[in-house]
């Protein structure tokens, strides 16, 4: 699990941008859950929230607090045009990198 968490850290910002591109907006707790459901488990809120705020300060996402229905307010994160552009530019680079890494591992495992 520790190793998987390290892998996830390398792609976490792009994964979060991708999840927000799918849904348009989301908040911290459900993003942790969605990462988990997508087969990327082990992400702690203590890592995710600072990352979301860094993306916010870089202008890749926008955040706003909204009143909760009977519960505490929720901080929603929305993908910006700049965030979408970064995902479009960096996403293919990561998939290429991951494909190459997978090919190296598969060759090693089958030899």
């Amino acid at each position: 699990m520790e190793r998987q968490t390290q892998w996830l850290r390398g792609v976490l910002d792009l994964a979060v941008l991708a999840l927000l591109a799918e849904s348009g907006e989301d908040y911290g707790y459900t993003l942790v859950r969605r990462l988990d459901e997508a087969g990327l488990p082990g992400m702690k809120p203590g890592t995710l929230y600072p990352l979301l705020n860094r993306l916010d300060s870089e202008g890749l996402v926008r955040s706003e607090w909204r009143a909760g229905a009977g519960g505490p307010g929720r901080k929603f994160f929305l993908l910006t045009e700049q965030g979408r552009a970064v995902l479009a530019e960096q996403g293919p680079l990561w998939t290429e990198f991951a494909k190459n890494a997978t090919a190296v591992l598969e060759r090693g495992m089958s030899s």
Binding site: G28, Y29, T47, Y49, N53, G71, G73
Partner: protein, 213 residues
């Protein structure tokens, strides 16, 4: 997750963020994020976010190395300037109570600077006592060290002042001038303190949230 331990975590995190000079607006945001996450999931805050010190260090990384060290909270220029202004006010006002003329010498200025420098030691020890969350024994020792050095600091400054010759006299002023100048220093101290406090006010960003300090 009990309300008591959640409150304790909040208070310790607030303190740790303050010690790392994270801006007040950001602190309000971080506390609200932690509170809403814990309320929604029922998770233990330490399990979700790490210890208050660890999480504060991670949040402070956003602001670069400047916010990385709790020691800088004590040694920042605004804190030292407030202390220097207050000491100057005391140096002028105290003799003005008993004498008709107040004399400032090189020795008295060196004494102020020495006291300011020596007061950094109890401040740092007090900060270590306040941020030591795991060992009661260490907290006690740091606290006693802070108290001892606080008591010894004026004696040390006085000794240094005596070592420096009382001459030359820099300025002699009548009692009323000394009081007036002390009042100016005191007003500057209060204004600087008020500015620092106002600029670092923590506000709950949630709809209907209230400001807190």
């Amino acid at each position: 997750m009990s309300t008591g331990s959640s409150e304790k975590y909040r208070n310790e995190l607030l303190f740790a963020l303050r010690m790392r000079e994270v801006p007040g607006a950001r602190i309000g945001d971080v506390l609200a994020e932690v509170e809403t996450h814990v309320a929604e999931t029922g998770q233990d805050p330490v399990e979700a976010f790490g210890t208050p010190g660890e999480y504060a260090a991670r949040v402070a990384e956003e602001f670069g190395a400047f916010a990385g060290s709790p020691r800088r909270a004590v040694l920042r220029p605004s804190v030292l300037l407030v202390a220097a202004l207050a000491l100057c006010a005391a140096e002028l006002a105290v003799p003005a109570v008993t004498t008709s003329e107040v004399t400032l010498t090189t020795g008295s200025l060196v004494g102020i600077l020495a006291l300011l420098a020596l007061l950094v030691v109890p401040l740092l020890l007090a900060m270590r006592a306040a941020t030591e969350l795991h060992s009661v024994e260490r907290r006690l020792w740091f606290g006693l060290g802070a108290l001892a050095t606080l008591v010894l600091a004026p004696f040390g400054a006085d000794w240094i002042e005596r070592m420096v010759s009382a001459e030359p006299v820099l300025v002699t002023m009548p009692r009323w001038s000394a009081f007036a100048l002390a009042a100016v220093f005191l007003l500057a101290t209060v204004a600087l303190l008020a500015r620092t406090i106002r600029g670092n006010r923590i506000v709950d960003p949630r709809p209907g949230g209230v400001g807190s300090s």
